[in-house]
């Protein structure tokens, strides 16, 4: 097997004095979409935040393209080619949609062609281009947050619950957007509670509990095995529906 794009080994991290991750081992293969599942409080968001340098690493290693990034500061990690969409989306509400996007384009002015592609994915952004981002709806903010992450080609996208609280129609938009990103060979690590959404996109899956990875494998295998789902997630997809 080829070397994974992101290789996390025995990762421990703290939020303040609380020890949250207790030895996470996670490999994210290049070019695929990996889904991180698990109950609330299992440490999924903390894993993403730790990769991004927002939580203090207290042990273990995070290798990105073979290079240790576990102790780098957040801006440097971002400039290695990793984009992060946090759960609260983190759009700058007093900035216009355009300014949000300009800020995200660290390499220079936005490329027109890429912008057109983003407008195709998320037409609402074009419509509200000059509006303050704070006036957008929740779904539109989510679109903006994802759009910011992809305004320039990134090697790895860390996305925390993009479908949370979104209307079904917008969830389908998101799904299309992620499919296109996958087609463009972008590697994505997605935290998701919506199993249907996760199943339709994921290539590989990892399940967390109590700050550890308790299962890792292919999404197809998990989706086909209701007993495993019940054991890992507390309920099976069939029961869920």
């Amino acid at each position: 097997m080829a070397e994974p794009l992101l290789n996390i080994q025995n990762l421990h991290s703290n939020i303040g004095q609380y020890h949250i991750l207790h030895g996470v081992d996670l490999q994210v293969p290049r070019g695929g979409l990996t889904v991180l599942l698990g109950r609330n409080g299992a440490g999924k968001s903390t894993t993403l935040r730790t990769i991004m340098g927002l939580c203090q690493v207290t042990g273990g290693s995070i290798a990105f393209k073979g290079e240790e990034i576990g102790r780098l500061r957040t801006p440097l990690i971002a400039r290695k080619g990793i984009a992060f969409v946090p759960e609260h989306m983190g759009v700058f509400s007093l900035l216009s949609v355009r300014e949000n996007m300009e800020l995200a384009a660290i390499g220079g002015p936005m490329e027109q062609q890429r912008l057109e592609w983003i407008f195709e994915l998320f037409p609402a952004l074009k419509k509200f281009w000059h509006r303050p981002a704070g006036t957008l709806s929740g779904g539109q903010k989510q679109m903006l947050a994802v759009a910011r992450a992809i305004i320039e080609p990134r090697e790895l996208l860390l996305i925390d619950e993009p479908t949370k609280g979104l209307a079904p129609a917008i969830v389908n938009h998101m799904r299309d957007a992620f499919r296109q990103l996958k087609d463009a060979q972008t590697t994505i690590l997605l935290v998701e509670q919506n199993f249907n959404f996760a199943k339709s996109l994921g290539d590989t899956v990892a399940v967390m509990d109590n700050g550890r990875i308790v299962h890792a494998g292919s999404m197809a295998a998990l989706a086909a095995d209701p007993a495993l789902q019940t054991r890992l997630l507390g309920l099976s997809l069939d029961q869920h529906q």
Binding site: L54, P86, L94
Partner: protein, 347 residues
């Protein structure tokens, strides 16, 4: 029925409608509302010519306060850093300005504006430069170790301010020193029966110029986008690959330089300065940044002019209350809008 509907609205309806519109204006543009209220109400009590004189003087004072306060509101907004050493930079600017004006006495004493500017501009540039460098040292040595504790920031920045003020006394002595206004700016212009000090007109022009330039930078440039974004969330600015501490340091340096720049102008405005001139004006500076909404340059601008105007109007109408007018305004504004005119920091 139709006839009744087409009849002109009664006075009561018109009144209710206008009140609604005023209420909306007050909500949406609180800074304009406050300025109009403060600027126009005194017209009821003061005759027009005197009002105009007071207004120009108040605006001049307010704009000088704005120059001194703008840096402080941004450093607080961006990193939550309370820099009570800001006043020392104002004092430093006033002394440097006075020194340069004395040194270039020939140019300052000449009766032409061009020659006078030949003394004022070097004074301003020297103050900008020295305070900028000192601001850099101050940020690295004094502020950086205490980023996360307001209490420590207060203690350590007050300490830093005391050191700078004592150094000023070492160089220039403890007794007050006079600041000579350049010749062409010393007098007053007389229009009809109005007498307006020339220097105040200059202060208005410079203050408006600085505000215009700051707004251009903040609204039109990438650095401006980053500053506004950083005031909202430093974490998300870092997530996008920008080093917030570097940005903060730059803002701190510019803010310190502007404090000294304002100090030069304030020294010429006061005409007699002591080493704690900055500490004295710092009270008004803090009032202004709180009224304006911490972190908002536009709020700071409107608050500064409002404070300048209130100071002059109240000082004219009820002289004993002149000294506390600004604090009274602070109390009134906070009762109306606890987060200031233009709140930009999410609490």
């Amino acid at each position: 029925m139709t006839a009744q509907n087409n009849s002109p609205p009664t006075l009561k309806q018109v009144g209710a409608h206008s009140l609604q519109r005023i209420a909306r204006f007050r909500m949406e543009y609180p800074h304009y509302f406050l300025l109009l209220l403060i600027g126009l109400v005194p017209l009821l009590f003061i005759n027009f010519n005197i009002w105009l004189m007071l207004t120009i003087s108040g605006a001049a004072m307010g704009l000088l306060i704005f120059i001194m306060a703008s840096g402080m509101t941004l450093t607080f907004g961006l990193m939550g850093v309370l820099n009570l050493g800001h006043g020392a930079f104002i004092s430093l600017g006033a002394y440097l300005g006075a020194a340069v004006l004395a040194f270039l006495g020939g140019a300052a004493a000449a009766p032409s504006i061009a020659a006078n500017l030949g003394a004022i501009v070097p004074a301003l540039l020297l103050a900008l430069g020295v305070a900028g460098v000192l601001g850099l040292v101050f940020e690295r040595v004094i502020i950086r170790p205490v980023y996360d504790s307001h209490l420590k920031q207060i203690l350590v920045t007050v300490g830093g301010a005391i050191i700078i003020e004592q150094l000023i006394q070492v160089v220039w002595g403890a007794s007050p020193i006079p600041v000579t206004r350049p010749q062409a700016l010393a007098g007053a212009v007389v229009i009809g029966d109005m007498v307006i000090e020339r220097y105040r007109l200059l202060a208005v022009v410079i203050g408006l110029g600085i505000y215009w330039a700051m707004i251009q930078v903040i609204n039109r440039t990438k650095v401006g986008i980053l500053i506004r974004a950083g005031v909202e969330s430093t974490e998300m600015v870092e997530v996008h690959g920008y080093r917030i501490k570097l940005l903060f340091m730059a803002v701190f340096v510019v803010g310190s330089a502007l404090a000294a720049f304002g100090g030069v102008l304030w020294g010429m405005y006061q005409e007699l300065i002591t080493a704690n001139v900055g500490e004295q004006i710092l009270v008004l500076v803090v009032v202004v940044i709180i009224i304006g909404g911490l972190g908002s340059v536009t709020g700071c601008f409107f608050a500064a002019i409002s404070v300048g105007l209130v100071n002059l109007y109240v000082g004219y109408l009820v002289p004993p209350l002149g000294g506390v007018a600004a604090v009274g305004l602070l109390v009134a504004v906070l009762m109306w809008r606890p987060q200031g005119l233009i709140p930009v920091i999410q609490v």
